[in-house]
């Protein structure tokens, strides 16, 4: 097959060269005319850009039609039959080799067009624009691109081959591809408007092989019809046309999923600690990074390198296990942040990104054996944890010490004084410099982000990492006593302060709820029920606590309302409708990022910033 493929490339090289020459001449002509007309170099560049756009929008589809139609018709022509049938190659191999050669030439031509675009190539900013245009229309454009680049050439080639006529083949190819494109567009529209987007994502595993099978099924009767002039033409022809249409219909959605993966698979990075400013960071599967502030969004000019990389992202629909990753992010006071991304079965990337300087200060990849997945900031030291209950210490430039077992001695060896929390007894004990300090707390200590479990069974106690509060080292643990819970802040002088129990992202449900300063959020849920006419005890009734200023707590209720409630009584003080969710919110992947003065929410038209008084603003794209 490879021999025949090479022969096809050789045979059809004149056509691609011809197109390339026409392209080059048209560019030269456009530039020449623009210069002669205006004597302005700027006009030349404008003309160049427009001509390149013309070629991308019109020239390439035309090339697809001409290349594919002529290659298909030529393969099936009488002259070619007489010429090449004596070769010991099966018609099926010839068909596939010629199809492949056609696609390769088209890909080359497209590459030439894109490379010739130079500054017109999609850059990070353009990608960011795409990010904002998370809408049905941009996705429909994706369908069209896929149809033009892949579905149309295959269909036109096959039809021209079957009909042994380039013109008829091109027309038939369009007729056959159109239902597939419209079908996929309709499916996507219905999906966007009425159903969860991810519903059919899992079917991609099945659809892609199905498409391959249908194309394979096409090729057999097609070559039988044309090459060996098989009898019973009508049934064969009907089978081929049906398979082509069916193939087009089933292969577009999964490929479309790939395209969508490119523009949609961006997630918000939630930090483990307080955001030093009003900022949200978004990251794409391919590593591109966007910084959102209340003023607007800008893309990081250089894309940090993270596995699995651009091509893996391109080829893999989102949410698949090999793209699965977890992140841990810790802001520093200077508006830089540490970001740790652990990839499924593949180690982790650690980077230090400076938002203000728009650059990556540090980047390092850890092997699978050093698969860090969480970071903690003790105030003085940054720690990394593995899933195997080991930890390491990062120094300021990100280099790491060796992995150590999680226990008090190892922490002490790193100069970190951890307190031991006895969960059931509600006792917190700190041994330091040969002295013990004990805090007796009124209730049971429960797990929280800054408690790590030692490598012991049964788990009776945990190790509490120190944190800093106003420059002072403290040990904070959540304490529960019946229905009441609070955050116990244990100070080195032996005192204990109570603070509202607030997590950046707990899901507050009517069935339990957490209790800031004694208020039971079950009541709040009832308030919401009255406010929003939701059914009680519906699992969907949930509210994400997004911010707490000590007196009030703000919640994102159902991703539809921003609710301001009294932190003590849970009474709703005010509420505002958040920007509308596309398609009623079903299937919408929502990212809510809290900051000090408001929250960032993503919607179809882009990212909004909503301040704590409910004022929403659609963020513009800023230039770097």
């Amino acid at each position: 097959m490879s021999r025949y493929f090479l022969l096809q490339l050789r045979k059809n090289r004149l056509m691609i060269l011809g197109f390339a020459a026409i392209f080059a001449l048209s560019i030269l002509a456009a530039c020449g005319v623009a210069y002669l007309h205006s004597w302005s170099v700027k006009q030349v560049f404008i003309a160049y850009g427009r001509m390149q756009h013309f070629w991308l929008l019109c020239g390439f589809p035309l090339a697809v039609m001409v290349f594919s139609a002529s290659a298909g018709a030529e393969l099936a022509s009488d002259v070619n039959m007489e010429l090449e049938t004596p070769l010991p190659v099966s018609p099926l191999e010839k068909f596939w080799a010629a199809q492949a050669a056609n696609l390769v030439y088209l890909a080359c031509f497209l590459l030439v067009l894109l490379l010739a675009g130079g500054q017109e190539l999609p850059n990070a900013n353009a990608a960011a624009q795409e990010f904002l245009r998370h809408s049905y229309f941009s996705e429909a454009l994706g369908i069209l691109i896929i149809a033009v680049c892949l579905c149309l050439p295959v269909s036109v080639f096959t039809c021209a081959y079957l009909l042994r006529n380039g013109m008829l083949g091109a027309a038939a190819g369009i007729v056959i591809t159109a239902p597939a494109v419209f079908g996929a567009a309709l499916l996507e529209y219905l999906n966007a408007a009425h159903g969860p987007r991810a519903d059919y994502a899992g079917w991609n595993y099945l659809l892609l092989p199905l498409w391959l099978l249908s194309i394979g099924a096409v090729s057999l009767p097609a070559t039988r019809l044309v090459e060996v002039n098989a009898p019973k033409k009508l049934p064969h022809m009907a089978a081929v046309l049906c398979a082509l249409m069916f193939g087009g219909l089933i292969f577009l959605p999964p490929l479309f999923g790939v395209y969508r993966n490119l523009i949609n698979a961006k997630w918000a990075l939630n930090s483990e600690n307080d955001n030093p400013g009003d900022m949200a960071v978004y990251m794409g599967n391919d590593g591109e990074m966007f910084f959102a502030t209340p003023d607007g969004i800008r893309a990081m000019s250089r894309r940090p390198k993270t596995a699995p990389g651009f091509f893996a992202t391109l080829l893999a629909p989102r949410d698949y296990w090999w793209l699965h990753r977890e992140h841990s992010m810790i802001w520093r006071d200077d508006k830089s942040f540490w970001l740790l991304i652990r990839h499924y079965n593949r180690g982790a990337d650690l980077m230090l990104v400076d938002v203000r300087a728009d650059k990556l200060l540090f980047g390092k990849t850890f092997p699978k054996s050093f698969s860090l997945w969480k970071m903690r900031n003790t105030g003085k030291k940054l720690l990394g944890f593995t899933g195997e209950q080991k930890f390491c210490v990062f120094d300021d430039n990100g280099t790491t010490g060796k992995l150590r077992d999680i226990n008090s001695k190892e922490f002490a060896a790193e100069g970190i004084a951890v307190a031991v929390a006895e969960f059931k007894a509600g006792v917190l004990r700190l041994d330091e410099h040969g002295k013990s300090k004990i805090w007796k707390l009124p209730g049971i200590i429960t797990l929280s982000e800054n408690i790590v479990l030692a490598r012991e069974r049964p788990i009776r106690y945990g190790l509490v990492l120190p944190t800093t509060q106003d420059g002072e080292r403290v040990y904070s643990v959540p304490v529960w006593n019946k229905d009441t819970g609070f955050l116990a802040i244990c100070r080195l002088d032996g005192t204990v302060d109570r603070a509202p129990l607030y997590y950046p992202h707990p899901v507050v449900k009517q069935t339990g709820g957490f209790v800031p300063s004694g208020a039971i959020w079950l009541d709040a849920a009832k308030n919401f029920e009255q406010l929003f006419h939701d059914k009680p005890y519906d699992w969907k009734i949930s509210a994400d606590a997004v911010y707490c200023d000590g007196r009030f707590i703000w919640l994102s209720y159902q991703d539809k309302h921003l609710v301001k409630a009294d932190g003590k009584t849970a009474a709703v003080v005010a509420y505002w409708r958040l920007p509308a969710l596309p398609g009623g919110g079903r299937g919408w992947e929502s990212f809510t990022v809290p900051s000090r003065s408001g929250i960032f929410v993503n919607r179809a038209e882009g990212v909004y910033f909503v301040n704590w008084e409910g004022k929403a603003k659609l963020l513009p794209m800023l230039k770097n």
Partner: protein, 298 residues
């Protein structure tokens, strides 16, 4: 199917639209034999060869060529040297390029042999195909058919349209050489007499089937050219196996392909005088076509 035969086909049928070209054609060629396939235009000689070469699907029947059956894979063509009626090559290639391209497709391609054949046939390898004469194209076709050392050759009008010198080159240098090497050959030729001396048997394809098959030796031994003068008022009796070649008044020239027909003619007593002689090869083929190729049975 006879497994000893190198070429064996049975019940091959094929229609184009409503027109049935082959209707149950069957035949066997033993290894090393050369068979001439006669038939009038449109009788399906090329169609039969293409079916045997796995280049065309048949409606029914089976075939085995050198142990392989046509299955759409083209594998048979690895083992058969084929001279098509109209040789064609990619015009942008030189003869050398054609040979190199083919070398990539045929597993047993012998470039040394290909170049030796080119030298023998005085074919310049640097010539571009689109500038080649018909004779040069024929020579290149022959080289392409023989360079992969096939055991079986299917030759479809191998000397058609060639001038005498090229024809002699091909006939003397190649066909004779191939028969000497014990290759199995099925050849169609409208001028089959050119093949004199190399044919082992002759078949006539008519009405979609092999209507006549005979070893060449037997055919030449039995074929008779009969000249007779009819008795006054006598009519030429209708005897099967006799073909009228010429008539002038009472003088009639006949051809008989078997001694039996001659004996029956004598027994009628219609001839006043009768002379018999051997029949030339040219006449034999002509008579064969007249007798068997004239009427379509389907």
């Amino acid at each position: 199917m006879n497994s000893n035969a190198t070429v064996c086909f049975e019940g091959i049928s094929r229609s184009f639209g409503g027109h049935k070209v082959l209707a149950g054609a069957s035949g066997k060629i033993a290894a090393g034999r050369v068979v001439g396939l006669l038939g009038r235009n449109g009788e399906g000689k090329t169609t039969l060869l293409k079916i045997l070469l796995d280049m065309l699907a048949c409606d029914g029947g089976r075939a085995v060529i050198n142990g392989l059956s046509p299955d759409g894979s083209g594998e048979i063509r690895q083992h058969v040297g084929y001279i098509p009626e109209r040789p064609l090559f990619h015009g942008f290639m030189t003869a050398q390029g054609v040979l190199e391209t083919r070398a990539g497709f045929f597993r047993n391609w012998d470039m040394t042999r290909a170049k030796a054949l080119a030298s023998k046939l005085e074919l310049p390898l640097g010539t571009r195909v689109r500038g080649m004469s018909k004779g040069s194209l024929a020579k290149l076709t022959w080289i392409c058919a023989a360079a992969h050392n096939p055991k079986v050759f299917f030759l479809d009008e191998p000397t058609s349209g060639l001038d005498a010198l090229v024809r002699d080159d091909i006939l003397k240098n190649l066909i004779t050489e191939l028969t000497g090497e014990g290759k199995t050959i099925l050849v169609t030729n409208h001028r089959m007499e050119e093949m004199a001396g190399v044919l082992d048997a002759v078949w006539v394809l008519s009405g979609g089937a092999i209507a006549f098959a005979s070893p060449m030796e037997e055919l030449m031994r039995d074929a008779r050219h009969i000249k007779l003068r009819l008795k006054d008022g006598a009519q030429l009796p209708e005897i099967s196996g006799l073909t009228e070649l010429n008539r002038e008044g009472g003088f009639v020239e006949l051809a008989a392909l078997s001694g039996a027909a001659e004996d029956k003619l004598r027994a009628t007593g219609a001839a006043e005088t009768m002379e018999t002689a051997g029949l030339s090869l040219n006449k034999v083929f002509s008579v064969l076509l007249k007798q068997f190729g004239g009427n379509r049975h389907v």
